[in-house]
């Protein structure tokens, strides 16, 4: 059965490109574009991996991640965080609140595929 990836990102063309490459790798990709309702989506559709952008409309990815880690039912889902800010403190913050991996935009498709595979197989 195909593994499920939930991509929470608000840029339509990034969503389309990432959905394409991950679908091509055999994953079932669902997408969501809003931080405020992201947890509802996760609860309703617990994926095997979440790709979570930091800057989202409604609520930041950091806040979504913090709440995710405090809910037992969904707290174990691995999360790959995406951000346009690559400073050390951003990376440290993401990892401190429970991100499993952290990628800085602009990333390569190969990097994304590699990290997604590692996180899902872990």
């Amino acid at each position: 059965m195909a593994k499920k990836v939930l991509l929470i990102e608000d840029e339509p063309n990034i969503i389309e490109a990432m959905s394409f490459i991950l679908s091509r790798d055999g994953y079932t990709v669902h997408t969501h574009e809003n931080g405020e309702t992201a947890l509802d989506k996760i609860r309703a559709y617990p994926p095997d991996l979440i790709i979570l952008d930091v800057m989202l409309p409604g609520r930041s990815g950091y806040d979504v991640l913090q709440d995710l880690r405090s809910e037992d039912a969904i707290s174990d889902i691995p999360v790959l965080m995406l951000t346009a800010r690559g400073q050390t403190k951003d990376r440290e913050q993401a990892l401190r609140i429970g991100a499993n991996a952290f990628m800085t935009k602009p990333f390569s498709n190969a990097e994304v595929r590699d990290v997604v595979q590692k996180l899902i197989e872990a």
């Binding site: 389309e16 490109a17 394409f20 935009k105 498709n109």
Partner: protein, 435 residues
């Protein structure tokens, strides 16, 4: 030296600071040691010659012995000292203010300036770090780049895409590239025109350059048979400092000489007839090549003159003057690409150099460059000549190129990865390599 409120105390403190015996000082100024003792304990008033003599032998100013340093100067010095992060073994400020009031005032002035600059820097840093408008603009740019990169990678991948997907990703790249261009322009405009005054001081060079640029590098008041006096033009310039006025005076004086020797109408006509070739014009007008280049760059745009840029650098590579032209803007702070002909000219004084310089990946990328280095200033047996190089920069179409010199503006933003002149890694090259 301990802080003492009266003249006698200041005499005693200073004498002890320099380890001078009371008897020695008393003898030096022609009084008894006991009388000096009374003075030092403020039991005798002194002034006039005796005060001056004591000041001389104590190596301080008589005013300081009489009045002490001004409170404001002292407190300002103490404030300046307290702002230092280092634990210097500082003498009390009274001694500095008394003995070297000029230096003390300079320290206070510089401490004020440092504080002002720190405030400005904090404002700029805060703006960059926390400004939501800037963060949003940068986020937009990076998001566009990410989408373009991802879509482009899919298109150039090994897997054959069906037509529908190809069209979709092509369209996405087109949309994102347009968005990137718009956001980049927004970002540049935002950075160029801050909506709040940061208080950053402007250097005299920049102030004068802005003034000249505002006149399109053409000083109409110095042209023709009845030029205005340089001093009058400078006087109406509204400069913020004497240094700026002096720089502008120097520039206008040189401009006036050029205008007299190369009359505008005659020179512009000849320049057009000879395709703005400075070497040819130099022969026709029997004028130095550098002067012809300066004159070409000062022709008014309303005479249907093509865009012409100019840069003048000193022997250390510092930019003494520059007139930007589309795609070419040699910023004043160092870090320039050494491959520009103007720098080659420095090593070959009086040898004209002509080359087409090619910038990487710019809208306007090719420039016909003419450069020459020449000495200036007074010549003497014991005086080394000062060298300056002048380079004329005329944008040309890429297809006109013959042999070109690959150049950049600065290593930091130059994507040429196989450049032997590279001084530091490029952030552009890093990004390009990842795309």
């Amino acid at each position: 030296m301990a802080q003492t409120g009266k003249v006698g105390g200041r005499i005693r403190d200073r004498r002890m600071d320099i380890s001078m015996q009371q008897a020695v000082l008393a003898k030096a100024v022609g009084i008894s040691a006991s009388y000096l003792n009374l003075i030092e304990h403020n039991r005798r008033n002194i002034g006039g010659k005796l005060l001056n003599d004591l000041a001389i032998h104590l190596d301080v100013r008589a005013e300081w012995l009489a009045n002490g340093a001004e409170d404001t100067l002292l407190s300002a010095l103490q404030e300046a000292a307290s702002s230092s992060s280092e634990n210097h073994d500082l003498q009390p400020p009274e001694e500095l203010a008394g003995r070297f009031p000029g230096w003390a005032a300079l320290i206070v002035e510089q401490a004020d300036r440092i504080a002002s600059l720190q405030d400005s820097m904090a404002a700029v840093t805060d703006r960059i770090t926390h400004d939501p408008a800037l963060a949003t603009a940068l986020h937009e740019v990076i998001s566009s780049v990410t989408a373009i990169r991802s879509s482009a990678s899919i298109l150039v991948g090994q897997e054959v895409l069906d037509t529908d997907w190809q069209e979709r990703f092509h369209r996405n790249i087109y949309e994102d590239s347009r968005r990137l261009a718009e956001n980049s322009e927004t970002l540049v405009s935002y950075l160029e025109a801050p909506d709040t005054e940061t208080g950053l001081p402007i250097a005299p060079f920049e102030e004068v350059q802005e003034k000249i640029a505002g006149l399109d590098f053409h000083i109409a008041e110095l042209e023709g048979d009845k030029p205005k006096a340089v001093a009058d033009i400078v006087g109406q310039g509204g400069f913020k400092s004497d240094a700026s006025a002096a720089l502008y005076t120097s520039y206008l004086t040189g401009y006036h000489q050029d205008a007299v020797q190369l009359p505008l109408t005659q020179f512009a006509l000849s320049a057009r007839e000879n395709n703005y070739n400075p070497v040819v014009l130099s022969r026709i007008f029997n004028a130095p090549l550098a002067q012809v280049m300066r004159r070409l760059a000062s022709l008014p745009p309303d005479m249907d003159i093509p865009p012409i840029g100019l840069v003048i650098v000193d022997a250390a590579g510092g930019v003494a003057f520059h007139k930007p032209v589309e795609g070419f803007d040699m910023m004043r702070s160092g870090g320039h690409c050494p491959l520009w002909p103007v720098f080659s000219a420095l090593s070959r004084p009086d040898q004209p150099i002509r080359a087409v310089a090619a910038l990487p990946s710019a809208t306007q990328s090719h420039y016909q460059c003419y450069a020459v280095a020449s000495s200036f200033g007074e010549v003497g047996f014991d005086t080394l000549p000062q060298i300056r190089a002048t380079m004329l920069v005329i944008p040309v179409a890429a297809e006109n190129e013959g042999a070109t010199v690959p150049v950049g503006m600065a290593c930091r933003i130059c994507p040429r990865d196989a450049c032997t002149a590279r001084r530091e890694p490029s952030i552009v090259a890093n990004i390009a390599a990842r795309l």
